[in-house]
């Protein structure tokens, strides 16, 4: 029985999970969730994720939510196929992947998500982007990226000289950021820029990015 991924093609979190599935060459069925109709906050969906969020992965009788738990599960279950995202044969490399997975989750994401929200989601709800939110978070993101710039001048990717789940987790939100004026925080940092160009050109992500269009391009 194939895996089922519930979400939407424009959702950054869903895209995170989907990119991982493509990197591992895992077959899955994509089930679209109607966010505008509030489908994710109603009982049938709440039985899958009581927090009412996408994505959700179903694998037989296992139901998983939280995109980063989904990617960890897929990377582990299919560790012998597709690209080696978690360095499972090397305890220390695997640990370094986990460090930068946490950095993305704890430091990068909280700064970038509000920026993307203001530019892409607020307008869908009839609101204008709030510049102070954008400015404050751009400043936070810039400080985080200074650290990334230093790290990426010593290794090609975040956890070492190998692409890993840690880099992958950054793809969706950064993709959206690059469509805004705040793209400058990436473009102004040469190592970060080079890293971004490298990771975003991977075929697995290109497939997912094709669906990441708010209102069409």
């Amino acid at each position: 029985m194939a895996l089922k991924l519930y979400g939407t093609s424009v959702s950054a979190s869903t895209s995170r999970a989907m990119t991982c599935l493509y990197e591992k060459g895992v077959e899955f069925e994509f089930v679209s969730v109607n966010l505008f109709a509030g489908e994710h906050k109603q009982p049938p969906f709440l039985a899958k994720n009581p927090f009412g969020q996408i994505p959700v992965l179903e694998d037989g009788d296992l139901t998983l939510f939280e995109s980063r738990a989904i990617t960890a599960y897929v990377a582990e279950k299919f560790k012998e196929t597709g690209y080696d995202l978690m360095r499972h044969n090397n305890v220390e490399e695997a640990a370094l992947v986990k460090v930068w997975v946490e950095v993305e989750g704890q430091r990068y994401n909280p700064a970038i998500a509000p920026i993307v929200y203001q530019f892409f989601v607020a307008p869908l709800q009839g609101k204008s982007p709030v510049q102070t939110i954008i400015d404050e978070n751009s400043e936070k993101l810039a400080k985080v990226l200074d650290i990334y710039e230093a790290k990426l001048s010593t290794s090609k990717y975040l956890a070492g000289d190998f692409y890993s789940l840690a880099d992958l987790h950054h793809l969706p939100y950064t993709f959206y950021l690059m469509e805004t004026p705040v793209a400058s925080v990436i473009n102004e940092r040469p190592h970060v820029k080079a890293w971004w160009e490298d990771i975003s050109s991977r075929p697995a992500f290109q497939k997912v990015a094709a669906g990441m269009t708010f209102g069409g391009k």
Partner: protein, 218 residues
């Protein structure tokens, strides 16, 4: 060689790491970092230990690591064969451990942190906390903890029938909620959550940590 943990005994994230080391019976040395004087933001600390200027960081025989949630995963993986099994045994169990670790990080932690900022951190630097914000986040926490209550009425621990990293990761913040934050009702009012909290906070390793941090035992 003992593991070096850089931090303090009363800070939440170092506590997460030390709880894990104690569970696995791994000897460690707590190297005190003077947070009040901003030691963690100084160039030497940033260069040698943690570029984001935060605690904890660990040094395990020359191997350096930061981010408490990455550290506990590393320790649990390194000593996977030793009891207690904190990662789950089957692939599915491991997935559920990851899921609830993520829930802690993305659905729970920010709410507690915002409250901690108002109640403890800002007052410590002489700034008033925002009581309205505390009440608003308390409401959000109520909704999240309702989900936990629902989960814990189906399984004894968050990821299944045994204590794992998913439960451990919650210990420091819940300790804060029922003590300094004065929000013990959030736990007490929920039958299963309360039983779970009593169970996990009475584990010998956690009690050892409470002693190390010099909290009164209750």
């Amino acid at each position: 060689m003992v593991v070096k943990v850089y931090g303090t005994a009363r800070a939440v994230c170092p506590q997460r790491v030390m709880a894990c080391l104690l569970e696995k019976g791994v000897e460690f040395e707590l190297v005190h970092v003077d947070l009040d004087s901003g030691e963690q933001k100084r160039p030497e600390f940033l260069a040698k230990l943690q570029p984001f200027g935060q605690v904890p960081a660990i040094e395990d025989d020359g191997f350096k690591l930061f981010e408490s949630r990455a550290i506990i995963r590393y320790i649990a993986a390194k000593h996977e064969d030793r009891e207690p099994k904190l990662l789950g045994e089957t692939l599915q169990e491991r997935a559920l451990v990851e899921q609830w670790l993520e829930v802690e990080a993305h659905n729970f932690n920010d709410l507690v942190y915002t409250i901690a900022l108002q109640v403890v951190i800002l007052p410590r630097i002489g700034q008033p906390g925002d009581g309205g914000l505390v009440r608003a986040y308390e409401q959000k926490l109520e909704k999240v903890l309702d989900v936990y209550e629902q989960r814990l009425s189906k399984s004894k621990f968050l990821a299944g029938h045994s204590f794992t990293l998913a439960d451990l990761s919650h210990l420091p913040a819940i300790r804060f909620l029922v003590n300094e934050a004065g929000l013990s009702h959030l736990v007490r009012d929920r039958k299963k959550l309360n039983a779970w909290w009593k169970e996990i906070s009475s584990r010998p390793s956690w009690k050892k940590l409470m002693k190390l941090a010099d909290y009164p035992l209750n």
